[in-house]
Symmetry: C2
Subunit: 216 residues, 2 copies
DNA sequence: TTCAGTCAGTGAACACTGTTCATTATCCGA
DNA sequence: TCGGATAATGAACAGTGTTCACTGACTGAA
């Protein structure tokens, strides 16, 4: 079976070329504007050929996003070393917003439209494991903050704290992605908006005024 | 010109029937799934007829959304009577989230994708007037809170405070719309999540612990 | 070496989308 | 009564994602 290996390797190589071409086009023009025919043309193929490697356009997109999703988690994972859970949450918040700004298209698909994971086994198997599931990682930090008596008594539910924290940074990130170019509001720099949110939210949750993070 | 009035009235009547049929279908199935042919069929017309009354599908959708947009503002406007600016912000936050849950499709289009207002004169003329522009109304409350010495010195920029506050409630609302049905997270009731966000954020911004609002 | 079978890739089709346009039918003001 | 404006039609168009009978090259066994 040496040559059947070669066959499989070639197959994967084509799959990767499709993914790579798609990623480039999607990043430049967005998911909707990029057509399967254009992706295929980019690597001198025909639209139908994509269906040999992916069930449909959605699976192609999901595959790309899942990779980005993992890259968020990888960015966040090293923060496990930060002992102070509050500071850890603050850093996670910053990293989360940064990710959103660096991969706006992925972020849009992952977090700004109806959940695409429900039927994706690859995503579901990551769930709950703090090393592979960013949300679980955040919840763990909240849990530790509560156990260490750092949180006010109203914020004794780690799940609720994590949900609220996520909503806050998601709000900052998604508004930046959609409206940063909009003249309606005199937007302050995204960096300052992120810090203001983290400062206010953590100060409001913690018993003692949390040390304000210096905006790097 | 009595009968040319009738002509105009009839024209507007058809326009309204289109809008009404479209609103119903959009609310049930979302903007993308509803096709111009289905809207037209609903009132025994043909797709092309819609173009007599609207430039294209986008203008039809924007017209519907603008009406909803005004209804947010109308819901919020009576709150001008609330003397305490902090309490006013809290109430506005609640009303904002409620609006999002009652009109998820409009909310999606208004606030969860790239800004559709930039070239809409009808929207631009409302800008800055606190009675017609919800954001200006929020900023005014922030401004008053600052002037009354209720905010910590870090939060002396009304624009930044308003932007942060909006981001927070938008985060709560948009996550609810997209992920409330998702099993990944053990979601607490939306009411509690809204209150937790308002409590934490306002407590973190104000000098003295703001009176916690009792949820409704 | 030969030969059957697997299977990646093709190109033409399909159903559907938003949009356009010549043509019709209707009503209005003169 | 007539002539012009115009709302509505239905067929068409270009483009979408997707399917499928077909080709042609490579593989593994005889």
């Amino acid at each position: 079976m040496p040559s059947s290996d070669r066959r499989a390797r070639q197959r994967e190589q084509v799959r990767d070329r499709i993914l790579s071409a798609a990623r480039g086009l999607f990043a430049r023009h967005g998911f909707e504007a990029v057509t399967l025919r254009k992706i295929a043309a980019e690597i001198d193929y025909v639209a139908g050929a994509i269906y040999v490697h992916f069930r449909d356009k959605e699976e192609l997109i999901r595959t790309l996003c899942l990779a980005d999703f993992d890259s968020v988690t990888k960015t966040v994972a090293p923060m496990a070393k930060i002992a102070d859970p509050i500071e850890r949450m603050r850093r996670m918040g910053r990293a989360y917003v940064s990710f959103a700004l660096e991969h706006p298209n992925s972020y849009r698909l992952l977090f700004m439209q109806a959940s695409p994971y429900d039927h994706d086994a690859r995503a579901l198997e990551r769930r709950g494991d703090p090393r592979r599931d960013g949300y679980a990682f955040l919840k763990l930090a909240a849990q530790q903050a509560i156990e260490q008596g750092r949180m006010r008594r109203e914020f004794a539910d780690a799940e609720l704290v994590a949900e609220t924290f996520w909503a806050a940074v998601h709000g900052v990130a998604s508004i930046e992605i959609n409206f940063s170019g909009d003249a309606w509001v005199a937007w302050r720099p995204i960096r300052r908006r992120t810090e203001a949110m983290l400062d206010a939210l953590l100060a409001g949750m913690c018993v003692e005024p949390a040390k304000r993070g210096r905006s790097k």
